[in-house]
């Protein structure tokens, strides 16, 4: 088992590395389309992470929604707004250095804190399992209020998006 575990660890670290690389690509590539694809890669990678953390249902949901729906949406938008020929315009604005410094500082600071904090890892949490039916049950009982609210939010978003993106939408033009 230990070899298996070792291989698993290795695979997971590789996956983490790939995800980070894809994320870097997503924020730095010139061609927007390539960025979108990199984002897709990131999302899939994150789903993989969920799997590693024994959150199977979540991984599936991630792929379904993020990779399936959101990515499609983004690519649609890119297609609609991008003139594919124009790929040599500078991608980064004047803040690139500051931003990099800020991000690095953030990593250093929070990383340092995270590393040093003694997290109270509980064994029963690690070993517990969580199935889809448990999820559905808790969603309908304990978290029913947020569930309903999110339904409303989604509804509002739906209508709002349509309204905003309408061709002759007076709301969009007025702004």
């Amino acid at each position: 088992m230990t070899e298996l575990t070792f291989i698993a660890q290795l695979g997971i670290y590789a996956m983490m590395f790939v995800v980070l690389a894809a994320a870097v690509a997503a924020v730095t590539l010139r061609n927007l389309f390539h960025c979108a694809l990199a984002l897709a890669g990131v999302l899939i990678g994150v789903a993989g992470m969920y799997l590693a953390m024994h959150a199977e249902f979540l991984a599936m949901v991630q792929i379904l929604i993020y990779v399936g729906a959101v990515m499609t949406l983004i690519i649609f938008a890119i297609m609609l707004t991008q003139r594919l020929g124009a790929g040599d315009v500078a991608q980064n604005n004047k803040q690139s250095l500051f931003g990099a410094v800020a991000a690095a500082g953030f990593v250093v600071t929070l990383g340092g804190i995270l590393w040093k904090t003694p997290w109270p890892v509980k064994e029963e949490a690690v070993t517990s399992s969580f199935s889809a039916s448990d999820l559905g049950e808790s969603l309908m009982t304990t978290y029913v209020l947020p569930f309903e609210i999110i339904a409303i939010v989604l509804f509002a978003v739906l209508i709002g998006a349509i309204v905003v993106a309408r061709k002759d939408a007076p709301k969009g033009a007025e702004q």
Partner: protein, 640 residues
Amino acid sequence: MVTDSAYLIPLFPLLAFVINIFFGKKVGKRSAGISIAASAVSFAISLPLVMKVASTGAVYQNAFDWLALDGYTVRMGYLLDPLSATILFMVTLVGTLIQIYSMGYMHDDPRFSRFFAYVSLFMFAMLTLVISNNYMLFFMSWEIMGLCSYLLIGFWFEKNSAANASKKAFLTTRVGDIGLFLGILTLFVAIGTLNFDGLGDAVKSQAQNALLPWAMVLIFCGAIGKSGQFPLHVWLPDAMEGPTPVSALIHAATMVAAGVYLVARSFPLLEACPQAMTVVATVGTITAFMAAFIALTATDIKKVLAYSTVSQLGYMVTALGLGGLAAGTFHLTTHAFFKALLFMGAGSVIHGTGTQDIRELGGLFGKMKSTAWTFLIASLAIAGVPPLSGFWSKDEILLTAYRSESSLIYWILILTSFMTAFYMFRLVFLTFFGKPRNPKIHAHESPLSMTLPLWVLAVGAIVMGLPGSPFMHHWYQNFIHGFHHQGHHEVNIGVMISSVIVGLGGISLAFILYILKPLLAETLTKVFRPLHTASLNKLWFDEFYVACLIRPFHWLGRIMFGFDQKVVDGAVNGTGRGTMFTSVIHDLFDKYVVDGLVNFTGYFTQFWSAVIRRIQTGFVQNYMLIMFVSVLIFMYLELR
């Protein structure tokens, strides 16, 4: 006290002064009457008192406390003793007569009443001085007399010469007055009292005090000034600028006599200080001789008489200096009469002919009979021709000199008598005899108001000598010493004969030179050219004083003025410049600092706003960055 009417004696002239000075315009010509009346009343009041003293020789006095000091009370009052009685009599009589005379003399003067006001003030001062019983009161009236002299000499102040003369008189006597005051103070320090009464006893008790001679000499300085002794005699001849009655009253009979009176009053003190006596006698002798010398060549009637006065005062002072109290005061009294007469006669001549220069006169005997006769009588008196008064008093003085230790003084005085007789009769012969030298002068006799006093005084000039003569057994000499020593008064025939010879000799010489052989005068002038020039130039006293005293003072004054001007102007200019300078600096400062501050404020605001403006970029991502960084910082700070 029965003699307290003495207080009234000076009061009437004072009243006359007040009336005349304040209501002069209203009373007009009656001011003369008021003044004369006051004077006459004073005479009337004093006469019984004089008689009283004369009969008994006693001393009467009364005083009231005037100033209470620590340890000494100054008491003011009167002292009637033989000395003050004599002078009192003389002053009131001669003063009244002169005022009657001046009524006519000053008739046409626009400031008629003011003249009489001044004269009354003077009478008040003189009478107070005569009857005063202490040095303080004496000094006060002394000063008032100085003032009156100034006012009266400069009466015709429109004339520059008169104004200058009065100033000169005042200043010169002032020098003497300082000495007098210092003398009084020194005396007070020495003997602790200022009263005349008891002076002798006080002095004897302090006989060894070294201050006493100083006191006496300083007091004598006052006499030098007031009585025109050498070296302060220079003011007397110039004082002739005043009206002739003034000359008669003040500078012949009374004020100048006050100096002699001072020395007489201080006689006990004088007797106690042999050194002081030497000083007094020396000064007197020099004065007598010197003045007579200058009078030899004077050409102005009044100047001759002025120098004569100085000379005669010198006689009196010499007598006192040699210890002859009786001789000195006797001569004082007789001199008052004939000198006043001489001056009034001169005034009459001036009034009648309009000139004072004897070189222009001549042959007035026929035209001005009263004046001429009285003048002649007075001249005989002053020359010392018996039995006129002048002979007796001068003889007394010569006797005192003869008997003193110094025979030099006697011979000088004899020589001076010769000169006196000579210059007086030179004056008489040139003025009244011979042919008139100026045909334009039409002489006329003076009115009665002027000639009557002349005759009264002439009588006095004749008989006043008798009380001191052997004919009355030297009553005066005994009287003056309070009838204390009734001894025989020695008579020295030799001295008498010599003084008569000398007097007649002078008259004869004058007769020869000016009547018989006028050319001889000119020859003598050439022969004695240096002496003549010295005499003519008054021994250059005035020039000497001007060079040594007046010029340095003027020079000093000019320097002070220049310095003052420079300093004052300099200060003012300096202040101006300083103000301008500081204002320029202030302006610059104002410009740069204030404006600079304002500008700076604006610039400052602009600068910082330019800086801060950059925060609002409008760029959302900038804001996000800043937010993120802030959160980062907070996180770091909190979670460290």
